[in-house]
């Protein structure tokens, strides 16, 4: 009798917080806060900070548990396991890098705690049929396909590739070559370069001699500036420069107006796109953090918003998985739906944007329904 009474009290105590108030949901966030990806990681942290603030302003409480992976897949996996086993979170946003996200994704179905990946681009992450892995951003091959689609109406005939000799450069050019083949473009030059060298003039002179309609570039950070400077020096002037992400989408690159003007690049997000709240998000982000938001920040903001909104009604990992699978959202990243298509599972078919630099500023130029400006073609100095 006594035992029965005690267990009743225990049950009542356990039930009490759930009955009296809507307990805040517990969500995990894995990001590269330290390590060599920390610079971009900071953008994701800022995006999430802003998302939590906005949710609190609407009266939605959330307990956020942050974990740092330092850009290392081992740490990312340990962070995910800690979050789901010790902290008892019902959903996780992150990690940032493809390497980390790929490893964590492989365990999500084992623990059955949904993982929402905000910005990792490697295709295979959502191609293995994992039920508990969702991805907001578009995978890597869309970078080249959207660029090619944007310039297809101008009927180009030839293309040259100039790219960094690393995983990102090689894989991006591979998908670009597939897309170019579909469009019937002829490859006239293929220059893979070592990063960090001071002189690319000879490679660029070779490209110039091949006289391509398009020059397709893949570079990180400062290499992009170096290449475009030397391209100007030797008078390389194709009909369009196509920069696939990374170095061609930074504010630092755009500010070099003399060399960056009219360069076309692909991105997940811009601040002048007509998706609801995008412009306002950019203003508030700038006011709070003193710099322009990158697409990573927007992706992280929207991923966290979707995760918390869905988790607040779901309240358990299983229902959260179903909620993410069934839901549709429309926010700063445009329409979001996690769908199964073309070999992908739970992949948001995110419409990537094409932007062009005009006097030091990025302007969205494609697709037409999301942009205010038109693409300027052909390229001229």
């Amino acid at each position: 009798m006594k035992q029965k009474f005690l267990s009743l009290i225990a049950a009542a105590l356990l039930a009490f917080p759930i009955l009296t108030s809507a307990a805040p949901v517990k969500i995990g966030f894995i990001n590269s806060i330290t390590g060599k990806e920390a610079q971009i990681g900071e953008n994701l942290t800022n995006g999430v900070t802003l998302a939590i603030e906005d949710l609190k302003a609407k009266g939605i409480q959330v307990v956020l548990v942050k974990e740092d992976d330092g850009g290392d897949p081992k740490n990312a996996l340990a962070a995910y396991e800690k979050l789901v086993t010790r902290d008892g979170v019902i959903g996780v946003v992150g990690p940032y890098t493809s390497g980390c996200a790929n490893v964590v994704a492989s365990r999500a179905d084992q623990y059955k705690v949904p993982l929402l990946i905000p910005a990792a681009a490697k295709e295979e992450i959502t191609m293995k049929g994992y039920k508990n892995v969702f991805r907001l951003n578009a995978p890597a091959n869309v970078y080249s396909s959207v660029l090619m689609k944007a310039v297809a109406p101008y009927k180009p005939k030839t293309i040259a590739y100039v790219y960094a000799a690393n995983d990102f450069g090689v894989s991006t050019v591979k998908t670009a070559q597939e897309n170019a083949a579909k469009m019937g473009l002829k490859e006239v030059a293929n220059e893979k370069y070592q990063q960090g060298q001071p002189d690319y003039r000879s490679s660029l002179a070779k490209v110039k001699a091949a006289n391509p309609d398009f020059v397709f570039l893949v570079s990180y950070d400062a290499d992009a500036i170096l290449l475009m400077r030397q391209a100007k020096e030797i008078g390389l002037s194709p009909k369009a420069f196509l920069g696939a992400g990374a170095g061609y989408t930074t504010a630092q690159f755009a500010q070099q107006a003399e060399i960056s003007n009219l360069v076309i690049s692909a991105t997940q997000w811009t601040d002048d796109v007509n998706w609801p709240g995008a412009a306002n998000f950019s203003l508030r982000y700038k006011a709070k953090f003193g710099k322009d938001p990158s697409y990573h920040a927007a992706c992280a903001y929207e991923a966290m918003r979707i995760m918390v909104l869905t988790a607040t009604t779901a309240k358990s990992a299983v229902k959260l998985q179903a909620g993410l699978k069934a839901g549709v959202w429309n926010g700063i990243m445009g329409p979001v739906k996690f769908a199964d298509y073309g070999g992908y599972t739970n992949q948001n078919n995110h419409p990537m944007l094409v932007q062009q630099i005009s006097n030091g500023k990025y302007e969205t130029v494609y697709p037409a329904q999301f942009s205010k400006k038109e693409l300027i073609y052909p390229f001229k100095r």
Partner: protein, 290 residues
Amino acid sequence: MLLFLQALLSGTLTGGVYALAGIGMSLVFGVMNISNFAHGDLMMLGMYFAYFAFTLLHIDPYVSLVLIMPTAFLFGFLMEKVFISRVIHHPHQNQILLTVGLGLIMSNTALLVFTSDPKILTTTYSSSAFNLPGGIYLSVPLVISFLITCGITAILSLFLLKTRTGMALRATSQNREAAQLMGINVAKMSGIAFGIGTALAATAGALIAPTYYIHPLAGHSFLLKAFTICVLGGLGSVAGAGVGGLIIGVVEAMSSTYISSDWKDVVVFVLFLAVLLLRPQGLFGKKGEQ
């Protein structure tokens, strides 16, 4: 033909800056018999000096050499007195550990202070070029850098050949003990040699800054080049380092034109190994020297 000439000229111009970095390293090795593995990081400091002189004081990077050279000389002179002089009679591995350590301290301090964001020095002529007849383009900043390099090398040669200090430096380089017996203050010569070496490294950094990007770890790729140049030209030979720099510059440009830029390091190091096999003392080194 056009591609060949373009590669030859841009290779020569880039090689000029490599040469300057190589000469500094070779001079230090010649006089002190020390391989300075902090040389690349001293170049990096020169880059940041030029960058801040330009952004904060609005001094053109080439004009700022007037400030950079004496400052770097003093820095090098003091560095020799405080650290390097203590290991001058020690085994090579101790000297290498010391200079590698000093380099790590410099690059990591730069990482802390300047962060890992690359800095871009943009002058009005950063991406302009002289258009030669026949469609050859020569980068304006590279041409200026090359001319300054030629000037500095000429002045350095005159200094080494004609002045008392220059002769004393050469004497120390030929035979340290004999020079000391002849009444040359070899400790002072070491300081001067290291000071000049540092000044040349910083100058090379400042010269490359307007056409490159500035990063705390930028010196590392140039350290390897400077070292290759020294060995190729003959360790300790100033003229050899000059020629070695030009050779590396041209070979790099030629291999990116005719093979692939992905392969240019391979070509450079195959050439390097070939020279070591056929002339172990380097192109300008004397037989029997270290």
